[in-house]
Amino acid sequence: MLVELEGVYYRYPDSSDWVLKNINFKAGEGEFILILGPSGCGKSTLARVLNGLIPNFYGGLLDGKINIVGNDPRKVPTYEMSRHVGFVFQNPENQLFFTNVEREVAFGLENLGYPPDEIRRRVLKVLEEYDLMELREKSPFELSGGQQQKVALASVMALEPRVLILDEPTANLDPLSALKVLGLVKKKTLESKLATLVIEHRLEIVLPFAERVVVMAEGEIVYDGDPLGALERYGYLTGKPFIIRLIERLEKEGIQLKAKSLSPEDVAASLLDILERGVTRVGGN
């Protein structure tokens, strides 16, 4: 387990309302977890507990058992947490500080005082892995939104964290770029055995990548499990994409799909498979 939260409560300083209530949450290697919930439900707050911004940057009262890659953010400063937990924010503009991609990627390692040789090695490795070699001298103004988020991701991954958090990473991107970025995150999650948490609203784009969905409402986790179950129960909070409504409708006809993922293509393939094998029971359940 890379992340273990037990009975966690949090409230901001000078506030008497708990923003996180009785959070019990575990995350392990290779998991791509989607966190859903309406604005204000606490998902961004939870994300910031995981990388130490809460309580170090925001203060307030954080209660409960917390273990994040062996660290407790109440005992460890944010810069120390950044070695273990990478955080990609929503707006690329506010997390790219330099006019040079290579410097951006090296920045985290420089801050933590790594020896120059080690920095050079890791920067080169990350630039290649994320296909950024040709862009290494560009400034963010010369990059598209998708490329900017890739740079942000690479800069964070250069620190080789075990846990990766993305807070609405595709909000400013066009759908195709969004798909690319999330696809890259999924690939890296599996390759590097990360625990990845993604906060996203654009269900149509992100659902196919998530094998686990956590739904939050009013500071609590109300669902933690398979994506289909999450949306069937909490669709009224999160929205129900077409494909989910279709699956529900087919279930009414007695058809249980076993799709590889919640993309329209995989769902269609699964449906075809079932129908061609004649497994339908006429007349529903």
């Binding site: 944010t78 810069y79 997390q95 420089e110 801050n111 005082g113 964070v156």
Partner: protein, 240 residues
Amino acid sequence: MEALKAFKFTRKNSVVDKLDPRTRFFVTLLLAALSLLTLEVKRQLLLLVLVFIISIIAKRFSLLIKGLKGVVPIAVLIFLLNWITELSQGFATPLAMTLRFLVLTSSFSLFFLTTPPDDLALALEQMHVPRDYSLLVTMSFRFVPTLAQDVQLVLDALRSRGLEVEKGKLRDRVKNYVYLMVPLVVFEVRRSLMIAEALEARGFGARVKPSRMVTLKFAKRDAIALALILGFTAIFLSMK
């Protein structure tokens, strides 16, 4: 606005670009010093010509001239003010003052045209300026254009609501700037909070001495450039 372009780095491949940024910095300061130490027209002209020659070698001549065009109004103002206050003295001194202004502007312009912000930061750090200050420099370069975009956004929104910030009596224009400032300040304060979060999440503020992947090293060409400029200085100062 156009004049600001004269201080913006663009990537080019020339011998001047390959110099250590500290060399360029030194040359710039030296030329500025020489300009401030002397006042004859022919000396200022010589310095200006030198800057132009270096800019041609650096393939930035046209950019430099475009930038200088933007400051012509100020140059004319300097000429007139100096001329009017000492009418009996003739044209020589005002002309020299104007040329001096042009030398200073163009030598610093050339420095910024040929030096990426990160190189400047690197140079400062190796001159033992603390990391936090050099970061201030780089981040300013990084975020000024972004801020300029935000200003334009707010101006467009204001115009769409019927308020032309740049028109009307002076008193109204001052009032209008308040309307510009309110959302802008709120927005930029929020932005700086988000930047602060992102900085912390990238290990900033660690209680260790920050390292640097790249270090500047002087090369032969720097020695040659320094020799040339010092030679020039000697000739310059011994001129009658």
